[in-house]
Symmetry: C2
Subunit: 408 residues, 2 copies
């Protein structure tokens, strides 16, 4: 597997993209994106577990479940089209109809994504004008993918895209991706918006298994603020244009492809966490030697969700009591007298808690580690052989600032 | 039931208290408190559900379970005596021994409470000197109770005490209380530290039932930051000195006493929420017509725990999508197309969401409501007949400031 420089969702064979200004809500910035494949794609996806599902989530669930193929995705930012009732569903249908008409494909093969404020209705005239511009502007190039990845941002500070190549039966296959955060991020199925494209030949069932299994240890292990969005969507589209022998379960090629998808998802998920609203640092909690995989995940996620731990990292304060406390209320059983906690960053690792008490570390060394842009907390549970990792970010003044007045 | 002006834990018959300066961690402020009863008390309590339990929590659990009576409580602030291993347990024993010796009571009838930073060991010389000062200074008066309630504060901005009187079989009985917050508050059994005293005659079993049942709808329904502390303790001591006919389950007197305890606990719990770290407003979520009591509690607590909802209240921003979102990910099932959300404050109530979409309210009116120091969010689930209320606070810059560098 190799990382492709400047690669994104429009890099795999046959995929096109564009990002354009439609003034849905924001002015003078790209706010609509398209992903289009020359050939129909096998599609799989995971969606928010929130009882309140945005209209585009409901639309996409139907397309992924009922349509044999998908061929395009239209995304807008600024307005989430959630809490919009019947009118919101009509907006999805009209958007898909317009895109289908212009692209010469059935509306049932057009996926829709929206992100932004909940409750407002989409300005359909501007959305439909945007679809026209997107269809005209689409192209197969790395820069087109970059444009699309910028067009789906809300409070993100950087766009997040990635592509890798790998060899499947002597044929080079590519996988590209774009994702966006960065508030209301506590995915429970998948993140706010994540898109993966690939030219690999792979069946729908295999693709679905891979994405559903992988999301558990990638997107579902990040949290910015504990709020599971109404719009969480992760989609993967495979158009088969690489012409590789079909990737079948139980083969080494399946494992290699799965590993590449995992790399893509983990990288994008970490980027979302590190670019969480107001974040100054990526906080990684690595739980080792837990009694079960489920316990390991629960413990790791509890630490990166703790407001007090997040605020302590922001203050570069080695307040390990908050980490111990968060492990303790996670719901997993363990013996606090028989476990250890470490801080680590950039190859440096120090023991801070052991045998029920302070391990006598240097505050200066701890503060130095906590001042890095990527901070790792390692909890060794001394219980079994299961590990898990979760990613979050620090809690800063800017998080409060961004969210105290997001709508204005 | 009547509220007693200036009443607190040293107001019921036979109870004494004091608050003194012991310089455990803070200088120039009261930081140790005593509650003492002339006669041995029946004691009941609820404690943190955190797997990591502070030494004083373990000590108190043993006293409440195994000792027939309790007669004194010694509390310090500044250091939590959690994550302190064997040495931490020894500190509790030495403190109880010293207090028992000076008061002429068995060490097994002395309860201990600690609050503050996790991980540091208590300076035992100063703690023991503090116990001496407390025993000498204790007295039966309203002001002594106030001193004690001030001595247990950490980041609280105001002390929290209360007393009520009620008639039991022609005899006036009094109940007093003191509690403290205000960070690491997400009680799951009970709050950080809460103490209730009463001169009523009541058996241990009855007292235990009342406190365990009541905590579910009072202390367990508040949250400041989602972090369940290692030190959560709620204790109730009854010394029987009012001389009323014993309060027995199944009688109107039992119900009246229970109601008075509920009033005390609810009032104190709301005060903790409203005085959460950095808080500018008390946020109350009242869920009505839910399918079950458990659903009602889950929904209400999910809203007051949502960082985004809390930040929106701080910004006086009527961003109801965040409330809908928090209800949606709570885990309770409901139909978002068939429910309603209202904002209310000081008798004014406006409908903001209905039938799956914005109800067309006035932003100006909503902002006015959200600018009040007590904001109510009402969610009408249209599912059944169960109600519940939860209390939290807004998320402010000061919360981050306080917690980014709590230890310095």
């Amino acid at each position: 597997m190799e990382i492709k420089t400047n690669g994104g969702i429009a890099s795999p064979k046959g995929f096109m993209a564009a990002g354009i200004e439609a003034a849905v809500k924001y002015q003078n910035r790209k706010d609509m994106a398209i992903i289009y494949s020359e050939k129909p794609c096998v599609a799989a996806g995971t969606f928010t577990s929130n009882v309140v599902k945005a209209a585009p989530v409901k639309w996409d669930m139907k397309v992924v479940e009922e349509s044999p193929f998908a061929q395009a995705v239209i995304v807008n930012t600024g307005i989430a089209n959630a809490g919009t009732g019947r009118e919101g569903m009509d907006c999805c249908e009209k958007t898909a109809e317009k895109a289908g008409e212009l692209l010469g494909i059935p509306k049932e093969s057009v996926l829709i994504g929206s992100t932004g404020v909940i409750g407002a209705q989409l300005p359909m005239d501007r959305i439909l004008a945007g679809v026209e511009k997107l269809v005209a502007a689409r192209e197969h190039s790395d820069t087109a993918g970059t444009d699309a990845s910028k067009a789906i941002m809300t409070t993100d500070t950087v766009n997040k895209e990635l592509a890798v190549t790998l060899d499947i039966g002597g044929v080079t296959v590519m996988i590209g991706a774009m994702s966006k955060g960065s508030g209301m991020i506590h995915p429970n199925m998948c993140t706010m918006l994540g898109y993966v494209t690939t030219d690999a030949v792979i069946g729908k069932e295999a693709l679905t298994s891979i994405i559903k299994e992988d999301v558990v240890d990638t997107y579902n292990m990040i949290s910015v603020d504990g709020d599971t969005s109404t719009n969480d969507t992760l989609l993967i589209l495979a158009n088969g244009m690489a012409g590789n022998p079909e990737i079948l379960p139980g083969t080494p090629e399946y494992e290699a492809f799965k590993e590449a998808v995992h790399f893509i998802n983990e990288t994008q998920a970490k980027r979302l966490a590190g670019d969480g609203e107001g974040a100054k640092a990526l906080v990684e909690c690595h739980v080792i030697n837990a009694a079960s995989k489920e316990d390991a995940r629960t413990l790791a996620k509890s630490v990166i969700c703790s407001s007090l731990t997040k605020a302590a990292v922001f203050g570069h304060d080695a307040n390990w009591g908050r980490i111990l406390c968060a492990l303790g209320y996670s719901g997993a059983e363990f013996d606090p007298e028989d476990m250890a906690i470490y801080y680590a960053a950039f190859g440096k690792k120090i023991l801070i808690y052991e045998n029920g008490m302070d391990a006598g570390y240097s505050e200066e060394e701890a503060t130095e580690i906590l001042s890095q842009p990527e901070v790792q907390i390692i909890a060794d549970m001394h219980m079994g052989t299961y590990d898990a990792t979760a990613w979050g970010c620090d809690l800063t003044y800017d998080y409060v600032k961004i969210n105290a007045d997001y709508r204005s």
